[in-house]
């Protein structure tokens, strides 16, 4: 009797695992784009340049704020990111073309052809999570096993980043002086142990933008 009930529930459980797994494969959702560095960088080679960022024109809506404000908000995030890299004498946003620029200015234009971030529930993680839950429960023989399950991470997700475009540098007379490609695709697992996957995403974005910026500045200096 007990054996047949167990078999029945295990089949039902397996069915749920399969259904949720399949559903998870198609459950990509867009997440908020955030370029910030957690703490300002200590830059050793600060350039004698005043950076001005042009307002970006994003290819598609990808933020939780009104669509008309997305470009301004992302520009501000890029501005804060650049400010915290400590690579320039000063960093500003170029809100108006009437702004008088000093001669040692560098105008930065972020041209994104793609700017995507998605979350996906990994199909295999749900069954692994259930096994983890079972082990946790078995090891402790109490419901404190749930605590272990939480500590191990439980069902988890995959985070995808896909940025492509160009970073272009102009001089104070709006002449193009350097150009570098933004091409960054990454996929990584996030876990409850990380507390929040946005931390991991943030580190990836920071690495990507710093290397892109440094490549651009090398071109600028070699002009």
């Amino acid at each position: 009797m007990l054996g047949s009930v167990y078999k029945y529930f295990s089949k039902l459980f397996l069915l749920f695992v399969i259904l949720l797994g399949i559903n998870g494969c198609f459950s990509f959702k867009e997440s908020v784009v955030d370029f910030s560095i957690q703490d300002p960088e200590q830059s050793k080679d600060k350039k004698n340049l005043h950076a001005w960022i042009k307002i970006v024109n994003l290819p598609e809506y990808n933020h939780d704020i009104p669509k008309e404000n997305v470009n301004a908000f992302i520009t501000y995030k890029l501005y804060k990111f650049l400010r915290e890299t400590n690579q320039f004498e000063s960093v500003h946003i170029l809100y108006s073309k009437e702004t008088k620029l000093p001669s040692n200015s560098i105008l930065l234009e972020f041209q994104f052809s793609k700017l995507e971030e998605k979350d996906k529930f990994h199909a295999m993680y749900f069954p692994f999570g259930i096994i983890g839950l079972g082990i946790g429960r078995y090891l402790t023989r109490t419901n404190y096993g749930f605590l272990l399950f939480t500590a191990f991470g439980g069902p988890d997700s995959v985070h995808q980043i896909n940025y492509t475009g160009n970073l272009i540098a102009y001089d104070s007379k709006d002449q193009e002086k350097a150009r570098t490609r933004i091409n960054f695709q990454s996929e990584f697992n996030s876990n409850m142990l990380y507390y929040d996957k946005t931390t991991e995403t943030n580190i990836k974005r920071k690495e990507m933008f710093l290397s892109t910026l440094q490549s651009l500045l090398r071109q600028w200096e070699g002009k």
């Binding site: 301004a72 804060k80 507390y195």
Partner: protein, 190 residues
């Protein structure tokens, strides 16, 4: 029993740290600016040094700025704007990551502790870059939660979109922002 009662009494202590916000007199004759203003909010939240989320959003700030009466011409279009309000808010929380479990499993007998630091930078500038007004605010709080944490945490867990479990963060940010606006109203825009 006495010890339990004392602990339960200390369940929801909020201890402010650092300087309190200055109070500004309310100006009777408010002169609103005629300029069209665009508001940018950049918000960051960290929990134990890791990137987190904050529930405070753009609409709260927009409502506060609009209700101040100083900026009647708010716009959603950056091209139309003559002036820009840039607001940066950074929240840093610190807590012991094991303590919430202990609080829950001891049914709040061991209270949960959390420290919170919120910084706000407020800047009003012309589109050409000239700064018209700038202000900074910083607030620190230490929170001790017990039964309140337990009940409120469980209620909030049912709300999928609510990342801010206690709502205190919103309250502090709103107060800081109102304080900046009060100062701006009193001093006036250059």
């Amino acid at each position: 029993m006495r010890l339990i009662l004392i602990i339960l009494l200390l369940q929801c202590a909020i201890i402010p740290k650092g300087n309190p916000l200055l109070t500004f007199e309310k100006k009777e004759n408010l002169t609103p600016t005629n300029a069209t203003v665009f508001v940018i909010l950049n918000q960051e939240a960290y929990s134990n040094g890791l990137k987190g989320k904050s529930d405070f959003n753009y609409y709260h700030i927009l409502d506060q700025v609009r209700n101040s009466g100083l900026f009647p011409n708010l716009t959603n279009d950056l091209n139309q704007a003559e002036q820009i309000i840039e607001i940066e808010i950074q929240t840093r929380r610190t807590h012991n990551s094991i303590l919430p479990f202990i609080t829950v499993f001891t049914l709040s007998l061991v209270p949960y502790f959390q420290g919170i630091e919120i910084k706000e930078n407020f800047l009003l500038r012309k589109k050409t870059g000239e700064i018209l007004y700038s202000a900074n605010r910083i607030q620190n709080r230490n929170y001790w939660f017990g039964f309140f944490f337990f009940v409120n945490g469980l209620i909030q867990l049912t709300k999928e979109t609510d990342h801010n479990r206690f709502g205190f963060e919103n309250e502090i940010i709103e107060r800081m922002n109102q304080n900046v606006l009060d100062e701006l109203i009193l001093k006036g825009i250059k």
